[in-house]
Assembly symmetry: C2
Homo-oligomer: 125 residues x 2
DNA sequence: CAGGATCCCATCTGATACTG
DNA sequence: CAGTATCAGATGGGATCCTG
């Protein structure tokens, strides 16, 4: 996230991202990332899984159900076989992007300072 | 938080605050609230405890140690007897206030919509 | 493909008791 | 006053296996 100049390029979201260290969370470990992945267009379940790296099906499914319950996303079941389901942000869900961007802006400016402080603190002790 | 017009009035932060339902977290359950409590001036340990309602000494102490470790706050020990310790935000810690404000702004505009969606979803099921 | 069911583990939080 | 130590409970994330 920090260091990304685009708003929603899930291909660029991975565990090595420094903002993984940022003490910030929105509705569980993955919801923020899901919102960014869905920012530009609807995506399928497996598409989300692959874009987000390590998340298991169970956890992603739980995250998505929470988002649907809270009106942040809608679940589009095309009722095909094999199954085809897409998730899409609602207006409410999209409104969270600006909050996430505020965090990303903070990270770009200050996260390395936090990490340096943490490092010098642990080495000192 | 949501509904407060001031930035840092810890007296007005309590568990009944609707943003307690907001799926947003910064460094554990209490760190965001601590930052708001320290926004206007340094405060003593017990002063923080009382302003924040239910937090236990252990958890607040852990939160404050994390914040000091990450360079978000400094611990001022006056080495008196009885003990007197104050905590104060660093510039880095203060820089998080704008992030928190972004969340508060979101909450003021959208949180009730999320809560309504959640309610109608749980009653529907 | 899109999950659900189950189990396990780590972490977090709080309650309680104690201390310099 | 400002914590620490210890323990118990809840929660969350992940691994694995299974299914319509």
């Amino acid at each position: 996230m920090a260091g990304d100049e685009t708003t929603a390029r899930p291909e660029r979201i991975h565990p090595a991202c420094p903002s993984a260290a940022f003490p910030f969370q929105l509705g569980g470990k993955w919801m923020g990332m899901v919102i960014l992945c869905l920012a530009d267009r609807p995506r399928r379940f497996t598409e989300l899984r692959e874009a987000m790296g390590g998340v298991t099906a169970k956890v992603l499914s739980q995250t998505l159900r929470d988002m649907v319950r809270d009106g942040l996303a809608v679940r589009l079941d095309f009722e095909e076989n094999p199954p085809r389901v897409e998730y899409e942000l609602t207006a409410l869900g999209s409104s969270l992007i600006e909050v996430i961007d505020a965090v990303r802006a903070w990270s770009e400016r200050h996260l390395d300072e936090l990490l340096r402080a943490r490092e010098s603190s642990t080495t000192a002790v």
